[in-house]
């Protein structure tokens, strides 16, 4: 982990009608950090991610990425700067073969800048990537129509799509929800490896036990407000956090 601040969030607020989904949130994220984002359902995790990635425009506040203000920029502009995100609900192109799902990010200006290959080469890159994430290249799995794959594979396909963009900051929204125990156990080390190789990661997650194995720091949200920020043990020990989680199910 270096000292360079990759993402700076200042007083970020988003209101949907009467609901304040994200309320005056500020924090800094350093290069190479692994940040867990937790909180009960409806506490604003997804909205915060949508704000950072430009899918939702903030009511107030400022987002700075590597000294460049990205508040209110278009999602594709932000993606091309190197912030890649997954979706809480699986969103894949159901009619395409699994590996063809990666063509879209591979076709982006960002990957082209890295020399992302030409027509045909992209297929190879896509299959390499999927192979790394447990879609064995010699099996039929990467070639099957995405719609016919089980949920766990789709979640990992979404992860592969994020990685294909060659991000500097990876944001995962409940990647593990709906995954089987064994799949989580298989995926976790991969994410850890990405982090060790220098990728900064924000991970919104309900499966706290798994999250705390990898995250060095967590931010706890409740009703859109940040109620704790620090190492997992410390944050979870706070009284407010205990209260927020009281009565809601804590998995793991």
């Amino acid at each position: 982990m270096s000292d360079e601040i990759i993402l700076k969030i200042e007083n970020l607020t988003k209101r949907f009608g009467g609901v304040t989904a994200v309320d005056q949130i500020s924090f800094d994220l350093r290069q190479g950090e692994f940040l867990g984002l937790i909180g009960p359902n409806g506490s604003g995790k997804t909205t915060l991610i949508n704000l950072i990635t430009g899918f939702v425009k903030p009511t107030a506040g400022k987002i700075t990425y590597r000294d460049q203000e990205i508040t209110g920029k278009a999602p594709y502009t932000i993606a091309c700067l190197g912030i890649s995100r997954s979706f809480q609900m699986v969103r894949t192109f159901h009619k395409l073969p699994a590996f063809k799902n990666l063509i879209v990010p591979l076709y982006s200006p960002r990957v082209k800048k890295f020399g992302g290959g030409k027509y045909g080469e992209r297929d190879d890159i896509a299959i390499d990537l999927l192979d790394d994430l447990g879609f064995e290249r010699d099996s039929f799995v990467p070639y099957k129509v995405a719609g016919s794959l089980p949920h766990g594979y789709l979640k990992r396909l979404d992860l592969a799509r994020c990685i294909a963009l060659r991000p500097d900051l990876l944001i995962l929204d409940e990647l593990f929800s709906g995954m089987a125990m064994s799949e989580v156990a298989a995926t976790l080390p991969m994410i850890e490896k990405f982090n060790r190789e220098g990728l900064t990661i924000i991970m919104a997650e309900h499966r706290l036990k798994e999250l705390f194995r990898v995250a060095s720091r967590v931010i706890v949200l409740n009703f859109g407000q940040k109620i704790a920020d620090g190492p997992p043990k410390e944050a979870m020990g706070k009284e407010e956090v205990q209260k927020a989680y009281l009565g809601t199910e804590v998995e793991g």
Binding site: T46, N50, F55, V56, F87
Partner: protein, 288 residues
Amino acid sequence: MEILIYGITNSVTLALMAIGFSLTFGISGLANFAHGAFYLLGGILTWIFLNQLGVPYLFSALISILLVGLLGFLLYWGLMLRLRGLAINEVIATLAAAIVIIEVLRWLGFSGFTYVLPEFIKGSVKIGNVWLDYQRIFLVGIGVALIIFFYLFTHRTKVGLSFRAIAQNERTAISLGIDSDWTAALSLAFGSALAVVAGLAILPLGSIDTEVGYDILIYALAVGIVGGLESIPGIVLASFILGFCQIAVATFFRAQWQTVVTLGAIVIILAVKPSGIFGKYKELEERV
């Protein structure tokens, strides 16, 4: 003064033309491209009842409104319901229905000076230095009444609120026990009936020409695009902007320039704020 009075009547006319279309769209997200066709059909039905079958005016008008409303309802139950979910097919289906209705009426020859609907009350009054016929006064009255009714209906009554609930989030509405197909069919029926009401108020000012089937659609769309569909203040504001600009241009330049105003307004609004002045038709912000 002239501009003021003609501007108001022209604006209300535009609002009347657009209101049925917006109602349907606002409730069920259905773009009823057969709007103009229903307007025309209502006028012609009334004429037939009145002049061929000798039914008194009030009844002819009521029967036509009900019949066309029913037709709108049937269009939904008979056809749209099968296609629901595929927006592309819904759009094509209503346009196809419009063309069938208008072209058959054209083929049957319902155009020309014989096809004139009676005015509610004949005569005119002088306001300032402008002669204004009673029909136009009625028209403004009906227009204002409809807009107020429409607003109260969608914001105050239970049915109206359930309409709006569906427009905002169909799935949640269903889970609250609101039957979305039923309300959508009703919305199409209401919209179609409103098209006929507009026709009965506007058509007596001239003779019926099947071409109005398309023209009304153009105006309804233009008002919707400029004002922002589904927004009542948007419809009213857009009608007044377009209405007054048209009259101003017609007075100071030439009457022919009215189309330019409409086209220009659309092009400008698309470039500046594509969702219309009061458009809530969000570009992005929905749940991800």
